[in-house]
């Protein structure tokens, strides 16, 4: 808060606030995106249509608008607090899990440091040296919410769920920590920004030195452990809706919704962390920040071409979709296509302008930095989105494990593998420094 002279550093404060708003806005926005993905991908996989009715003035966004209807419904639903619950614990649980879900994003760098003149702005909310240790510490707190909620509900089935989630979190927390030790050995850093910078290097001169390339086993172990921490299928035992109904049986209305919002926020946070640790974070493969800045006009033009092509393809797909539609709505939804075509036309016009306007003169340093920032933040979001997609895909493909099988997988298979990974990595790092 204060600078070297003891005065309040308004620039620092303003920038941090802006970054916090961005990071949390991104997390909250991804709650909607993840719910939308869950519905639409599940419909796609299950050979169904999925949500397609809810609309605002005819705009349905392929069912995305249903999220807003959901929010309204959950807010206006009667909020029942059963008479038998332990009120303190019962009311504590949902806010805790939501807070923790939002805290995870605070250390994740979403772009390279922005250099404006002599000012270096780190593109992360908190610049912590402990890096992912902070994330491990924070995410393991979320089990408290489940345990408190399950126990405070004073009901037998939530108690089962609390028990399950407790055991599950403890087991997979260890694997999660172990799977990252190899990463520290290879890159020699726990600080997330340094990890991402290190992943920008090349292996043998042409393979990006991403975490997944140098630590494939660690990556797999971490992803499985993350899935278990997220309580997603095949590890959704605390929810286990066909067995013990879940830890949130006694919750209703927005308290119930908070659990689910936290679940979807956690998916994004986990995806962001996996991206940062193993998939190069904000790194564009073969394009370092310096390269982007020095070749800004070319990069901008390439981006414009990509955007134009994407817009054209999207317009063609939309046209095909609308031309073979089976139902006649006879209301505003008929005009929905115009909105999409309008947006795509704007994208097209902007890309053409971007291609033509700057000529071949070099961009100013601030604009070049801005371009790098936008590109890197964009690629970070795209990578996270893909991982969210995979997480959702897994849910609609696999059955659920049984409690003892879950424990066996964690302690008998993944823990030894994690230790073996450390040993092998250690030997390799010693032999080929």
């Amino acid at each position: 808060m204060t600078n070297f002279y003891g005065r309040i550093d308004w620039i620092f404060l303003g920038l941090t606030t802006a970054k916090a708003v961005f990071a949390w806005g991104l997390t909250l926005g991804f709650i909607l995106v993840n719910i939308f993905l869950e519905r639409k991908i599940c419909a796609l996989i299950q050979d169904r249509v999925g949500p397609n009715r809810a609309n605002i003035l005819g705009v349905r966004l392929f069912g995305f608008v249903l999220n807003f209807a959901d929010a309204v419904k959950l807010l206006f639903k009667e909020d029942i607090t059963p008479s038998f619950v332990n009120k303190t614990y019962y009311l504590m649980a949902p806010p805790i899990i939501m807070t923790i879900a939002l805290m995870g994003m605070s250390v994740v760098p979403f772009a390279d440091d922005l250099v404006v003149g002599s000012l270096v702005i780190p593109m992360r909310v908190l610049d912590l040296n402990v890096g992912f240790l902070f994330i491990l510490a924070i995410t393991s707190l979320s089990v408290y919410s489940l345990v408190i909620g399950g126990f405070g509900s004073n009901s037998k089935y939530p108690l089962f769920a609390a028990m399950r989630s407790c055991a599950q979190m403890i087991s997979y927390e260890i694997v999660m920590g172990l799977s990252l030790v190899g990463l520290v050995m290879v890159y020699g850093a726990v600080h997330l920004q340094r990890l991402v910078v290190a992943q920008g290097e090349m292996l043998f001169g042409f393979i990006p030195k991403w975490g997944v390339v140098v630590q494939p086993l660690g990556c797999v172990l971490f992803c499985i452990a993350a899935l278990a921490e997220l309580n997603r299928t095949p590890f959704d035992l605390p929810e286990g809706e066909s067995e013990i109904i879940g830890f949130h049986v006694e919750y209703s209305s927005m308290k119930f919704a908070l659990f689910f919002m936290a679940e979807y926020a956690n998916i994004f946070v986990a995806a962001a962390i996996i991206t940062t640790l193993f998939f190069g974070g904000w790194q564009l493969p073969w394009l370092s920040t310096e390269t982007i800045k020095s070749n800004a006009p070319v990069v901008l033009r390439a981006c414009a071409i990509v955007a134009l092509t994407a817009a054209a393809v999207a317009a063609y797909l939309l046209h095909r979709l609308y031309s073979k539609r089976r139902y006649q709505w006879k209301d505003l939804r008929e005009k929905e296509g115009l909105v999409f075509y309008g947006v795509l036309a704007c994208v097209g016009v902007l890309s053409i302008m971007a291609m033509l306007l700057p000529g071949f003169t070099p961009l100013s340093p601030i604009m070049a930095s801005g371009l790098a920032l936008l590109l890197q933040a964009g690629i970070f979001i795209v990578k996270s989105f893909i991982i969210c997609f995979i997480v959702v895909w897994i849910r609609w493909t696999l059955p659920r494990l049984r409690y003892d099988q879950l424990m066996a997988l964690g302690w008998k298979i993944m823990l030894p593998l994690g230790i073996a990974n450390i040993v092998v990595t250690g030997i390799v790092v010693l032999l080929f420094p």
Binding site: G240, S242, L398, Y403, D404
Partner: protein, 565 residues
């Protein structure tokens, strides 16, 4: 090879009082006091080897004449020798007592409880003679003829089942303590809590895995089930009593509501029994149509079992692949009968309507969709490690144990025991169709699941053959036959009793019909396959985990409407 009557003749005069053969079945009357010895002999004697007790039927014979008021009929099956025998014992109204045969056949435990519940016949030596279908404080025995059907009774608080649980836990050397939570604010209920007593938890009556309404009281240790006490009757509607109030045709809609997953098979099974009693042969065309509808029903039922079973295991996607096919079969049935769920469109002697145009094309297109759906599901689960671990060796039961519990249908065949009424006691010329009986090896949920999956493929084979035969029949106008069956109004079978069964999706569905010669059925007992398949649940779930229970109940395909009737 001696016939059953010839084999039984030496026994007449001893334990067996009389012997007769009617409607193609063997009916014996026996001395009630010697029933345990007789059934033990019939089971253990290698000449008979009656290894399965199919059903125990109580009859209030006060309207039929005779000295003693109550009849109890033991329907036995010898799966090895392919014999069927009904052993009839009578007991007086003043002292309705019969020795219990639960030690001979395990399934008799529940069947005797049902007879006790409905008729008040006491089975001496039964370990737990409580009501099975009616609630604990019910007054009277509803299937007695003098029971006032317009009387109303209040349903009190549901039974806590603690007495049964206490006995079970004591047998295992465990103490019982029920921690009451909820409105009691964490106070302890009965018993002293020592800290390592099993945790008592109710599963059901309304729980996502109990398809219908069932209740199990579980004593768990962590997640491992120490003891389980099932309670039935939440869906008991007195179907058998209602059946006595109408004429024979008016019974058909009641049969729809037994196993609502495949109502057509229940209709056909009932009509087949009444036709047998009347001595009617239905036309070949109708028989083929019944085969087609039965097998469609079997596919429908198996789809309803396998899909939700996977949902119970957490795999939500395969369910949709299967249900899309099921939806199409529903469409066909709706087009044919006008109803989506309770068709009631079989009549005694035939069918009420002719087939609609394009029926066979619709069936053909469903069968075409069925194979890819099954293949998709198989690809998703057959080699899926999680599915394999969740199902293999879970709820396993041996063939011998399954027979003692009266298992039939896919649940029996999953144990590796080849017994299918379509092959062993063929009706509607099932024996002339080319299909194979699917059997499993271990009798676990994995086998039960895949027996059902492969049975659907076999059913599709049968339907294709039946359609080809139907089309090859000389084109007698279908409407004419329908008219014939419509004119068939007054049904009054000759006085007597008959047990007839057919292979439905869950196993052997039987109807024991007693006629007094009038147009109203005197007594109809439904032999429900689900009830017998479910009777082994206690031994199957003990030592398993709660998640296994989910898988076991899903694979047994217990249908509440059929169990509770």
């Amino acid at each position: 090879m001696l016939t059953l009557v010839e084999l039984l003749n030496p026994l007449v005069g001893g334990d067996v009082v009389s012997l007769e053969e009617t409607h193609g079945g063997v009916y014996a009357a026996a001395n009630p006091l010697k029933i345990v010895g007789l059934l033990t002999q019939l089971r253990d004697d290698a000449r008979f080897s009656f290894d399965m007790l199919v059903d125990i039927v109580g009859v209030d014979a006060s309207g039929l004449g005779g000295v003693d008021r109550f009849q109890v009929v033991y329907i036995l099956a010898s799966t090895a020798k392919n014999f069927r025998l009904s052993v009839n014992v009578r007991t007086s109204a003043e002292k309705p007592e019969i020795p219990s045969v639960h030690a001979v056949y395990a399934v008799a435990d529940w069947l005797e409880r049902e007879v006790y519940d409905q008729f008040g016949i006491v089975f001496i030596g039964h370990p737990n003679l409580k009501r099975l279908l009616n609630f604990k404080d019910f007054v009277g025995h509803p299937l007695r003829k003098d029971f006032p059907i317009d009387g109303r009774q209040k349903v009190p608080e549901s039974e806590d089942l603690h007495d049964e649980m206490k006995v079970k836990l004591e047998r295992r050397g465990r103490a019982f303590s029920s921690m009451r939570i909820g409105e009691y604010g964490g106070e302890h209920g009965e018993g002293e809590e020592t800290g390592d007593d099993p945790f008592i938890v109710n599963l059901g009556p309304a729980h996502p895995i109990v398809h219908g309404i069932l209740r199990l009281l579980l004593a768990v240790e962590g997640e491992t089930i120490v003891a389980a006490v099932p309670e039935l009757g939440y869906l008991h509607r007195g179907v058998e009593k209602s059946m006595e109030s109408g004429n024979y045709h008016q019974v058909i809609p009641y049969t729809d509501r037994l196993n609502y997953a495949s109502p057509m098979m229940n209709n056909i099974g009932y009509c087949k029994a009444v036709e047998k009693m009347l001595g009617i042969e239905i036309s070949e065309r109708d028989a083929l149509l019944r085969v087609i509808l039965c097998e469609l029903g079997r596919i429908m039922d198996h789809l309803l079992c396998t899909g939700p079973h996977l949902v119970d295991l957490g795999a939500l996607t395969p369910f949709w692949y299967l249900f899309q096919v099921r939806e199409k079969i529903y469409d066909i049935m709706e087009k044919y009968s006008g109803v989506r769920l309770t068709y009631s469109c079989v009549r005694i002697g035939g069918f009420p309507f002719p087939l609609y145009n394009g029926f066979f094309d619709d069936v053909e297109s469903v069968l075409k969709d069925l194979m890819p759906a099954i293949d998709d599901v198989r690809r998703l689960v057959e080699r899926n490690r999680i599915f394999y671990d969740r199902c293999c060796k879970v709820g396993a039961i041996s063939s011998a144990e399954a027979l003692r519990h009266g298992f039939t249908g896919p649940c029996l065949r999953a144990t590796g025991y080849d017994y299918d009424l379509r092959k062993n006691r063929p009706y509607y010329s099932y024996d002339t169709f080319d299909f194979s009986v699917v059997v499993g090896t271990n009798g676990d949920t994995y086998d039960r699941f895949f027996v059902r999956v492969y049975e659907m493929i076999e059913s599709a084979k049968i339907i294709r053959q039946a359609i080809a035969r139907y089309k090859a029949l000389s084109s007698e106008p279908a409407a004419l036959e329908a008219k014939k069956s419509k004119g068939f109004k007054k049904v009054a079978p000759p006085a007597g009793a008959l047990y007839d069964s057919s292979e439905v999706a869950n196993g052997e569905l039987g109807y024991y019909i007693v006629s007094d010669g009038s147009a109203k059925p005197y007594r109809i007992k439904v032999r429900s396959p689900s009830l017998c398949n479910y009777s082994a649940i206690e031994s199957m779930v003990e030592g398993a985990m709660i998640a296994d229970l989910v898988s076991i109940i899903g694979s047994l395909n217990v249908i509440g409407g059929e169990i509770d009737r």
